[in-house]
Amino acid sequence: MIPGGALLLNASGCLDALEAPEVARSLDAFVTKTITPEPREGNPPPRIAEVEGGMLNSIGLQGPGIDRFLVEVLPRLHQLGMPIWVSVGGFSAREYAETCARLDGEAVAAIELNLSCPNVEEAPETAAEIVAACRGRTGKPLFAKLSPATLDIGGTARAVESAGADGLSLVNTLRGLSLDERTLEPRLGAGSGGYSGPALKPVALACVHACARATQLPIVGMGGVMTGRDALDLIVAGASAVALGTVLFPDPGAPARIRAELEAGAAAHGFAEPLLARGRAKGPL
C-alpha cells in the first residue's frame, strides 16, 4: 500500500516545503525535489514557458546534492511533522543505489526513484536494473517514477515490480518544445523541456490504467490534475494516491480545494470515500 496511507501528495519538484510549509501540511506526505549525488546548478534560464494545454519546464535537477541535503535540508523537513518522501536521481544505477544507501538509515517514509527526468541525460541502465541496484541497498519503500513516453509501460511496470519496487509513480512529464513566435528560437534556455498540465491528464490516465492491470503495485497517479474530478479519474483508473504538480503553481490552496472536491465527487458516484472508487473504471478499456 501507499506508505502511511497518504492520499494527496505533491509531485516532486513542484513545491518547496521549507518556503511554503502550510501548503506542504495541507498534503498527506511531502515529496522532495529530486536529490542527486552531487550539487547541481540546473539548466540556464529561461526555464518556464506556458504552452497550449499546459507548460514546459527545464529546471534540470537544481539541488544541493545528497551531502548537504542530509545535513541542511532533511532535518528541517522533519520539523514539518509529516511523512517525507525523497526523490532520488542519478546518472547511473550505481549513483541511484549509493544515494538510496545514504537514505536508508534516515526517517524517510519512501524513496521515489526519478527514472524519467526529461531535462537531463538518462542513466544507461534500464529502469528495472536501477530498481534492482537500489533494492540491494535500502529497505525503504521504493517507488519507481516512470515516463509516459514508454512504448509498453505495463511491461516496464512488471519489470520494476520483479526488480523489487514497492510502488509506481505515474507519470513524469513528457518532453516538449516551444518556439518563440518572433525569433523562432526555443523559448527555454535548454531547448526542450518537460510538458505538464491539463494536456497530460489523459496520458496519465492511460498509463495508470495500463499499469494497474499489469501489476499489483500501488500507484501514485499524477499528471494534469487541476480539480478533484481529475484526482477521482486517476483513482478510478487504478491509482491509490494522487500527486499534485502544476496546479500548485497558480494555486497554493489547491490541496484543500482538490481534497474537498474529490470527496464530494466520490460521494456523488456513491463511494463513501475516494479510495473505494479505485479501479472501478467501466466498459472496454
Binding site: 519538484g13 513542484c14 513545491l15 518547496d16 518556503e19 511554503a20 502550510e22 501548503v23 525535489k33 546548478e41 540546473g42 534560464p45 529561461p46 526555464r47 518556464i48 514557458a49 506556458e50 499546459g54 507548460m55 519546464n57 529546471i59 537544481q62 498540465g197 491539463p198 502544476t246 500548485l248 503553481f249 497558480p250 494555486d251 497554493p252 490552496g253
Partner: protein, 222 residues
C-alpha cells in the same frame, strides 16, 4: 500565509502602449514597493508576476505591457470581473535611504509610482523608446524623461545618491557597473512566485537563485 484573494477589476486605463489595471483592494496588503503579486490571467494556466504600481485608497493598480496572451487578457479585464491575486511576494526596496534617486526604463517604471509616494516624491530619471511609451512618465512625480537614443544612464550625476531602479536588463547592468550598491529590481518568468517552481532563477554571484525569494530587488555590486 499563502492565500490567493479574489479581487474585482474596477477599471482599466490606457497609458500610452500600456494599461493600468485597477483592482479592488479587498483585505490584501499592498506590501512594500518593489514587491510583486501573481495575477491570474483569464484563460491562461499560469498567473503573471506584476509589481504594484499604485496603491490608491481601497485599490491596487498594476501597469501592464500587453506583450503576450496572458498580459493581453489582463489588459482586457472587464470591470466587475474577478481574478485570483497572490501576494505581496518577494523582497521590495529598502526604503531607509537618505538621498533617493529613482531610475526607470520602459515598462520597468511600473513599481516607481508607489515607490515615489512612499519616499516623498524624490527626483526620478525615466527612459523610454518613444514619446508614446513616455506617456507613462505622467505616473511618476518629479520625473526627467529621455527618449532613445538618449539613455537614462547619460542623465546620471557623478554622485547620483541612493539609486533605486527598475528597467530592462541592459539598463540594470549599466547601473550595476556604474553605481555599486544600487537597488535594482529584476524580472524573470515565474510559474508560482513563492519558491515552488525554480523557474525564475537569476545568476547571483555565480549561483542560480530564485528571484521570487531572493529578489526581485537585489543590491548591485560592481
Amino acid at each position: 500565509m499563502l492565500t490567493r484573494a479574489r479581487l474585482r477589476a474596477v477599471a482599466t486605463e490606457v497609458v500610452g502602449p500600456y494599461t493600468l489595471l485597477r483592482l479592488e483592494r479587498g483585505g490584501v496588503d499592498p506590501g512594500i514597493p518593489g514587491q510583486f503579486f501573481m495575477l491570474e490571467a483569464p484563460g491562461r494556466l499560469l498567473p503573471r508576476p506584476m509589481s504594484l504600481c499604485l496603491a490608491p485608497p481601497g485599490e491596487l493598480a498594476f501597469l501592464i505591457d500587453p506583450i503576450g496572451p496572458g498580459t493581453r487578457a489582463l489588459c482586457a479585464l472587464a470591470p466587475g470581473h474577478e481574478i485570483g491575486v497572490l501576494g505581496p511576494l518577494g523582497n521590495g526596496y529598502d526604503l531607509s535611504v537618505e538621498r533617493p534617486l529613482l531610475v526607470g526604463g520602459g515598462i520597468g517604471i511600473a513599481p516607481l509610482p508607489y515607490l515615489s509616494e512612499r519616499l516623498g516624491r524624490p527626483r526620478a530619471l525615466l527612459g523610454f523608446r518613444t514619446e508614446w511609451h513616455a506617456e507613462a512618465a505622467a505616473l511618476v512625480p518629479n520625473a526627467e524623461v529621455c527618449i532613445e537614443p538618449t539613455l537614462v544612464t547619460e542623465l546620471l550625476d557623478d554622485d547620483p545618491g541612493d539609486v533605486l531602479a527598475c528597467g530592462p536588463e541592459p539598463m540594470l547592468e549599466a547601473l550595476r557597473a556604474r553605481v555599486p550598491g544600487a537597488q535594482l529590481a529584476w524580472e524573470a518568468r515565474m510559474a508560482c512566485g513563492y519558491g515552488a517552481c525554480y523557474g525564475c532563477v537569476v545568476d547571483v554571484d555565480g549561483h542560480y537563485e530564485r528571484l521570487c525569494l531572493s529578489g526581485p530587488v537585489l543590491r548591485g555590486t560592481a
